[in-house]
Symmetry: C3
Subunit: 248 residues, 3 copies
């Protein structure tokens, strides 16, 4: 969170900056979820950001509103905060072969907190948003493209070049025109702060309930946050864990 905070502050304040690209240095993963081994108290005690929202929604909102174009390049898993960062960015391009997006949270017994209930229906429509959010299932790149969850699924071999050419092209344009176009689009397409605040409250309340605490403990026991095979098959393991809970 502090690293992301530094990056967002730089994006907001650099007078020359026109475009940023977010990608991952970790093979197989773009960015995944909230840290369940850290004390929850650390999250609850974090002071609100400049928008008055709690830190995570605050930073994501500021990214959406910054006078800089944010492009996400997804090669690997993006779930939880990873999906939420992608949704708060301006454009999303996914490796056709290697990208998988999801909001896995419902499978672990809690409500996502970083904006997907407000952002997904505006992007993919109510029906597909509910499918993503209530199934917690993996959405491979081709389905994500069909749904509008990402702008495009690009063949993996072409993804770097595609995103680089787009970012370089935009970087030659007039910064003021970029900022004004983005503001006009934002005015008709961004969620309100109160919608985002409601999600964060929903996350904090739900993650402390027994339904979540029990599932999270079971997932940590299986290997969540330690074993890449669990993270890579999170939809399967949330299903198994929820199935066991139901039988108790």
């Amino acid at each position: 969170m502090p690293q992301l905070s530094t990056v967002i502050a730089q994006i907001e304040s650099d007078p020359q900056l026109k475009v940023v690209v977010f990608d991952s240095a970790v093979p197989g993963f773009f960015l995944t979820h909230y840290d369940f081994t850290a004390p929850l108290d650390l999250t609850i005690r974090m002071a609100p950001g400049p928008t008055g929202l709690p830190p995570l929604p605050d930073m994501l909102v500021r990214l959406s509103r910054a006078p800089v174009v944010s492009i996400v390049q997804i090669r690997g898993r993006a779930t939880g905060v990873g999906s939420e960062l992608a949704l708060a960015s301006d454009m999303r391009f996914a490796s056709r072969e290697k990208a998988v997006l999801s909001q896995f949270e419902v499978g672990a017994g809690f409500v996502p907190g970083g904006g997907p209930m407000a952002r997904l229906p505006r992007l993919v429509g109510r029906g597909r948003a509910l499918e993503i959010l209530l199934s917690g299932n993996d959405i491979p790149a081709d389905v994500a493209e069909r749904y509008g969850y990402v702008n495009r699924a690009v063949p993996d071999a072409e993804l770097d070049h595609f995103v680089d050419a787009l970012a370089r092209r935009i970087s030659t344009f007039d910064k003021q025109s970029i900022a004004e176009i983005k503001t006009l689009v934002n005015n008709v397409s961004l969620p309100t702060d109160s919608e985002l605040a409601a999600e964060w409250r929903g996350f904090l309340a739900s993650v402390q309930r027994p339904a979540a605490q029990q599932r999270i403990k079971m997932l940590l026991d299986i290997g969540l946050q330690r074993d890449p095979a669990v993270e890579t098959n999170l939809a399967k393991y949330t299903g198994e864990v929820s199935n066991q809970v139901g039988k108790q």
Copy 2:
């Protein structure tokens, strides 16, 4: 209508229920349209439901707002109320080979009444919504998927398994989290009651005008509600009937 009313009341009140699936026992049809042989007076005299809306929009709104996930599995024709029930549900899955969706009403000279003017633009955008609503044409499953009218068109042989696996998966999740996620999505994606009330008034007024009465009589004479071949080729027959009216 009374049967649907009973089902909706059960969905709202069952404390254990997490998911419902709507499908059809009639080969070739999911659900079609309003009954034109019953006296219109029966419809006009129906008392408003708990939301204050007339019964049909009332029941559809309550389905959308219920703390239960509604999944529609379409194998066959869904038009009129059939399409409107699908649009009011949370997710729509269609047989790639056998599903056809439409709002045929304009071809019979009247305005749909169960919400599609409010729901379709939010789901498929203004242009495609106007095409569906103003052409009255059949939308086969692959186009419905491309437009976002349904979540996915699934090969017919896989549809039962796909929907069953999804419904069973969701049924193992925490009911309170499901309900809270759905509410947060609803808050940013559902039509207002006044938008829905306006449609019902538009339906009631238009269906009593000569343009509708003449076309409906001609369609009943041809075999509407008696001959499956008429229902299966409704777009063709509404076109023929409207063409004849224009030449008179």
Copy 3:
């Protein structure tokens, strides 16, 4: 502008008219952009239209609100005002082989003025809208269809027949029902006038700034508005010109 004004007034006032189709008599082009060789003063001095908006947004809004169905058939380039006219119309059908849509303006250093920041996010979602508006890139018909920028990309050999059959079908329907359905859809899907007014102000201010004046002069020197090869490769030339500006 006066020609379009006459057409819009006819569409609004003809009591028999149900459908209009816009296509182009110029091979390779649907409609392109604002005239940069005319004195800007001519644009600034134009009196507001009946809606109180400046003439271009006024006419486009009136087309969207007219009780007549407007269908755009795109075979060739649609950029700038051409894309904006398409977006203000009710339905868009594109030649799969020959249609290309774009909003090229950012590449020439200014903000579009005819509504695309308000209309595109509602049609294609925020991410794809920002890609179209901030890249200024060509969007071929198949991508335009996938994004929802057009209703459908139709094989070129079938396009005339497809649009003609659709327009003739609608023309046999009841005019009052058509108008009421369109109004109900408009109520939930059209931008507000103040959103459109903000775009026009953004266009007028930005087109007079040095970033735009310099790029427009360079494009005119290369052959903009004289050489079809420049218009046909506008994304390439705006990129080259912006690249040169950056190096100065």
